[in-house]
């Protein structure tokens, strides 16, 4: 068996170990590779930066713990930015399995920033219906969510002063891990009720959302852990996403090298087979 053949039949667990080490070592010994800010992430940041104090930011946390490594850092960075800008944050989720995590996340960041529930922020929780909830919110917020996650009536909460429907929202961001997510918020929300919309998503979903970005249907897009790291850099509060970027770069280099090597071994074997065929 030639070297190329042996390499192509290598135990896959060796590759797992290589990838594991390429991820683990940069996490233990970070080098701090530079992070370049993309236009799509800057779109969300610049828009929040341009909002006047006490504007209403609707943050829909449309993900569950399965997407936590990518979307949780995005949510933390956006919330820190919003609270720093003294915006009113109205948070909700369209994913029932993400309600507990969303409440814990919002409470944690709000406490860090010294914000009051009901005055500076509210968590509406989850309501059944998926996209129908967005339509319902566009007609009457208090009908869609008569009470918040803690069971307190939404009507009369200072954070919702002057907010009756999606038309009164200054900026909405959906951090989506699937459907319903960013696309649903555009189709049933922005397209109908005309508010500005930004998006955040997992890396898998990002290529599918770029057409919405180019056409101006969303004004910014935070894609995966990389997008979260860019946002953390923009607000100057480096967290878990920035810490993971060295590991991300190292694993990408490892995968590129593995793909290149596999191709070299594959073409070597093919050439050997052709030469043997010509000789016989």
């Amino acid at each position: 068996m030639s070297f190329a053949e042996r390499m192509l039949k290598i135990d896959r667990r060796i590759i797992f170990v290589v990838i594991g080490l390429c991820t683990l070592l940069p996490l233990l010994y970070p080098v701090g590779l530079p992070i370049k800010i993309s236009q799509e992430v800057r779109g969300v940041y610049d828009h929040i930066e341009s909002l006047p104090e006490r504007s209403v930011l609707l943050l829909s946390l449309d993900f569950d713990p399965a997407s936590k490594p990518e979307l949780y850092p995005q949510a933390v960075a956006i919330l820190r930015h919003a609270f720093k800008k003294n915006l009113r944050v109205v948070a909700m989720t369209l994913w029932v399995s993400g309600t507990g995590m969303a409440d814990e996340l919002l409470t944690k960041v709000a406490n860090e920033s010294g914000k009051q529930r009901g005055t500076d922020y509210v968590f509406l929780g989850w309501s059944p219906g998926g996209t129908a909830v967005i339509i319902n919110l566009g007609q009457d917020l208090y009908n869609a969510f008569p009470s918040d996650y803690g069971g307190k009536p939404t009507k009369g909460q200072p954070v919702l002063d002057g907010v009756n429907s999606l038309k009164d929202v200054t900026y909405a961001i959906s951090l989506g891990a699937g459907n319903p997510g960013v696309e649903a918020w555009y189709v049933f929300g922005k397209d109908k009720y005309k508010f500005e919309l930004g998006g955040g998503c997992t890396g898998v979903m990002a290529p599918g959302l770029y057409p919405l970005l180019r056409s101006g249907q969303i004004n910014g897009l935070i894609g995966g852990l990389r997008g979260a790291a860019e946002y953390e850099s923009l607000i100057g509060e480096k967290g878990r996403a920035v810490a993971g970027m060295d590991a991300q770069s190292a694993t990408h280099v490892a995968i590129i090298v593995l793909v290149a090597l596999c191709n070299v071994f594959y073409f070597t074997l093919r050439r050997q087979a052709r030469q043997q065929g010509a000789q016989s």
Binding site: R13, F16, I19, G20, T23, L24, L27, L28, Q39, D64, K68, P69, E70, V96, S97, T99, G100, G125, W126, S127, P128, T131, A132, I135, P146, S147, G151, E183, Y186, V187, F188, D191, K192, T202, G203, V204, A206, P207, G208, P211, L213, R214, S215, G216, Q217, G223, G224, L225, R226, R240, A243, G244, A247, Q248, T251, H252, I255
Partner: protein, 249 residues
């Protein structure tokens, strides 16, 4: 014991049990997999019961006398008639209502958002009229709205659509156009796969970050102890499977 510490031990254990599948399928992985499915389904059922049945149906009807809610409740209950063969036909009314409302809401909005808006974006003017400069052609590849990108999008959309046009044999100039379409498709698949790899690595980074955090003495070093338990169990299982005769496996 603090709930955070218990959570750290559970999260670390389940993460390591799931990762043990990378070595080979084993009972620890099965335990974690079944727990994940069971807990997520249980959580969803409890949250749905609390939100829908208690807060959106029971309390408004009993406490606020909102009797109109009985109409959607009745339509919803018709769905359950599928479990009674003789009355199963009644569920068709509920499905008809849902399909009708769903299609009515979704079709116009989807047409507007994904077809009309995207066509509008595809057929952008190739030359831009800028005040002072007159007609201009921008070559900036990094700007999504530049003229050169408008041409690339136009060529890409037309050639990919032609590739999926099977009524004409792809020969001569048609073959060149179809090949161009394939090239655009390959680039799109490559970009999607690249992002998928990035996403999967991000998930791994997330779990390893937690494992590093939970190796701290303040949690009782669950990562250290549970790595030992997982490796020990895998070795024991491996030894046991080797000592058993092949027929009994």
């Amino acid at each position: 014991m603090d709930a955070t510490i218990i959570g750290a031990w559970v999260a670390t254990g389940l993460t390591l049990f799931i990762f043990s599948f990378l070595y080979k399928d084993n009972p620890l992985f099965k335990l974690a997999e079944n727990l994940y499915v069971g807990v997520s389904v249980g959580y969803t059922i409890v949250k749905t019961y609390d939100t829908v049945i208690l807060h959106l149906i029971w309390k408004p009807i009993v406490e606020n006398q909102e009797w109109t809610l009985l109409i959607p409740v009745a339509i919803g209950l018709l769905m359950l008639t599928r479990y009674v063969p003789k009355a199963a036909w009644l569920s068709r009314y509920a499905f008809a209502f849902i399909v009708g409302v769903g299609a009515g809401l979704a079709i116009p909005r989807t047409m507007s958002s994904f077809i009309l808006k995207q066509i509008e974006d595809t057929i952008r003017p190739l030359l831009a009229l800028t005040p002072g400069d007159g007609v201009a052609f921008s070559w900036n590849l990094m700007n999504p709205a530049s003229s050169v990108n408008a041409i690339i999008v136009l060529i890409g959309v037309s050639s990919v659509l032609f590739y999926f046009f099977f009524s004409v044999e792809h020969r001569g100039p048609g073959k060149t156009v179809a090949r161009t379409g394939v090239l655009f498709l390959m680039i799109a698949f490559g970009a999607a796969f690249g992002y998928t790899v990035m996403a999967r690595m991000s998930l791994l980074i997330g779990r390893l970050t937690d494992l590093i955090e939970y190796s701290d003495p303040s949690y009782g070093r669950p990562t250290f102890w549970l790595v030992l338990v997982t490796i020990g169990t895998l070795i024991a299982l491996s030894v046991r499977s080797r000592s058993e005769p092949p027929d009994s496996q």
